[in-house]
C-alpha cells in the first residue's frame, strides 16, 4: 500500500512540476484572494490583522478546490482513470498517493501564504509550533476529504461545479478548527488550540479511514 502511494504521489507531483499549473495558476490565485480580502476590508482599522487567520484558511480552502480538481482532471484525460483501475495498484495506495500529492502542494502554498499574510496584513507570526501543527493536520484533512469527494465527482460530467458543492460544507469543520487554532497561536495562547487540534485530528482520522477502505469502490463506481 505505501509503495503504491509513493508511486502515485510521485507521478502526480512530477506532472505538476512539469506542467507548472501550480506555480502559474494555483499560487497566483491564492495570492489574488488574499489581496482581494485586503481591498475589501479596511487595513487602517486593524480588521485584516484580527481576521487574518480566517482569511488565510478561506484562501487555502478555495485554493484546495483547485488542487483537488486538478488531481482528478489528470485522470480524466485519454482514459487515464481506466488505466488507474487496471493498474493493479492497491486502491488504498491510490487514495493515499493522491491525497499526499495534494497535501504536499497545499503545504508549500500555505508556507507562501503565511508570508503573504505577514506582509500584506501586517500580522505578526507567533506560536510557530502550533501554526505548523495546524497546517499539517488541516492540510491532511483537506487533502483526505477532498480526495474522497474528488473521486466521487470524477466520473460525472458536472464534476467542476459539483465538487465545490460537495466538499465545501464537509470542510467547514476544518476551516473552523484551523482558524481557531491559528487565532490561539497568534494571540500567544497556544494551549487554547489543543481542543481544535484534537478536532482536526479526528477529522483526519475519519477521512483517512473512509479513503483507505472506500476509495476502491468509489473509483470503480464513480
Amino acid at each position: 500500500m505505501w509503495g503504491d502511494a509513493a508511486l502515485v504521489a510521485g507521478k502526480d507531483l512530477r506532472i505538476e512540476m512539469r506542467s507548472k499549473v501550480g506555480v502559474n495558476q494555483v499560487v497566483p490565485f491564492a495570492f489574488v484572494v488574499l489581496v482581494l480580502f485586503a481591498f475589501a476590508l479596511d487595513p487602517d482599522r486593524g480588521v485584516l490583522d484580527r481576521a487574518a487567520p480566517g482569511l488565510f484558511w478561506v484562501a487555502v480552502l478555495l485554493t484546495s478546490l483547485l488542487a483537488i480538481q486538478r488531481s482528478f482532471a489528470l485522470e480524466a484525460v485519454d482514459g487515464s482513470r481506466d488505466g488507474l483501475r487496471l493498474s493493479g495498484l492497491d486502491p488504498a495506495g491510490i487514495f493515499l498517493g493522491k491525497a499526499l500529492a495534494v497535501a504536499v502542494q497545499l503545504l508549500v502554498l500555505e508556507a507562501l501564504l503565511l508570508l503573504g499574510v505577514a506582509f500584506l496584513y501586517g500580522t505578526a507570526l507567533r506560536g510557530f509550533g502550533v501554526l505548523v501543527l495546524t497546517c499539517v493536520l488541516a492540510t491532511a484533512g483537506l487533502a483526505g476529504a477532498g480526495t474522497v469527494y474528488g473521486v466521487m465527482a470524477a466520473g460525472l460530467r458536472v464534476r467542476e461545479t459539483l465538487l465545490p458543492l460537495l466538499v465545501l460544507p464537509v470542510l467547514a469543520p476544518v476551516l473552523l478548527a484551523a482558524t481557531r487554532a491559528f487565532e490561539a497561536a497568534l494571540a500567544g495562547t497556544p494551549r487554547a488550540a489543543t481542543g481544535w487540534l484534537g478536532l482536526l485530528g479526528c477529522f483526519v482520522a475519519l477521512y483517512t479511514f473512509v479513503g483507505v477502505f472506500g476509495f476502491g469502490t468509489l473509483l470503480e463506481e464513480a
Binding site: L7, K11, R14, I15, D78, S80, R85, G88
Partner: protein
C-alpha cells in the same frame, strides 16, 4: 487445452442499455481470436468487460481461472488492455509513462530501453512529453507496458487504428510473437483480412451477442 475466457449468458449494461445481452464465449489459452462486428455491436464493451471495466450484471464469467464478477483484481493482474484511449499522461515523458504503468502493475522496468527501441520510441522520443507525440506514437507508447509486462491475456481494441503501415506490421508481429509464447490474444478490429490472417478463430458480435465464424483464411480454404 485450458480456457482463458469462459462466458455463459454474460450480460453487461451501459446505463439501462444491454450492451452485451447474454454472450456465450469460450477462448482457449494461446489462441488469437478476432472480434468482428459493426460499430456499436459490443466489441469494445466485451473487451472492457473482460478487463472488469464494465460490470457484468448477470451470467458466468471466468477469466484466466478467476471469477471476474468476484475477483476483478486477480484477473486484471494477468491481462493487458490497449483500447481506443491510451491512458497516458500528457505531461510525462514516454519513458516516465511506461515506467509508471509497469511499476504500478508490479513489473520490472529492466526491459524498458529495449522495448522502446523495438517500438521505435528510443533516442530523442523517450524523453518527449506524450502530449507532443502524434496519435500513432501515442499508440506505440501505450503498447510498451503490455510488451514489458507480457500478461497472459492481451485485449487489443482496434490496435491498427491510427498507425502507419510500418506500425500495422509491428502490431501483426507482436500478436504472432505473443501467440508463439502461448499468450491469448483477443483483437477487436474491422480489418478482417489483416487480423483474420493472424487469428485462429473469428467471433462475430452483433446486437450484443457473440457467434463463432470461420476466419477469412478458413473461409478461403487457406491454412
Amino acid at each position: 487445452m485450458s480456457l482463458a475466457v469462459h462466458l455463459r449468458s454474460a450480460v453487461c449494461l451501459l446505463g439501462r442499455f444491454p450492451a452485451l445481452a447474454g454472450v456465450d464465449l469460450d477462448v482457449r489459452s494461446g489462441e488469437v481470436v478476432l472480434l468482428a462486428g459493426p460499430n456499436g455491436a459490443g466489441k469494445t464493451t466485451l473487451l472492457r468487460a473482460l478487463a472488469g471495466l464494465v460490470p457484468m450484471v448477470d451470467g458466468t464469467a471466468i477469466v484466466l481461472g478467476h471469477d471476474l464478477r468476484r475477483d476483478r483484481r486477480s484477473v486484471r493482474r494477468q491481462l493487458g488492455l490497449v483500447g481506443h484511449t491510451t491512458s497516458l499522461y500528457d505531461d510525462l515523458t514516454v519513458a516516465d509513462n511506461v515506467r509508471f504503468t509497469v511499476r504500478a502493475a508490479g513489473g520490472s522496468v529492466d526491459a524498458l530501453e529495449s522495448t522502446l527501441q523495438s517500438l521505435g520510441l528510443a533516442g530523442r522520443l523517450r524523453d518527449v512529453p506524450v502530449g507532443r507525440l502524434s496519435a500513432g506514437q501515442r499508440r506505440r507508447t501505450a503498447l510498451a507496458p503490455l510488451l514489458i509486462r507480457d500478461p497472459e491475456l492481451w485485449l487489443l481494441d482496434e490496435p491498427h487504428a491510427g498507425l502507419d503501415p510500418e506500425g500495422r506490421d509491428l502490431i501483426d508481429a507482436l500478436c504472432s510473437d505473443a501467440r508463439r509464447r502461448g499468450r491469448t490474444v483477443m483483437v477487436a478490429s474491422h480489418d478482417l483480412e489483416r487480423v483474420g490472417a493472424l487469428a485462429d478463430r473469428q467471433v462475430t458480435i452483433a446486437g450484443g451477442l457473440a457467434s463463432l465464424a470461420p476466419t477469412p483464411q478458413e473461409s478461403s480454404g487457406v491454412g
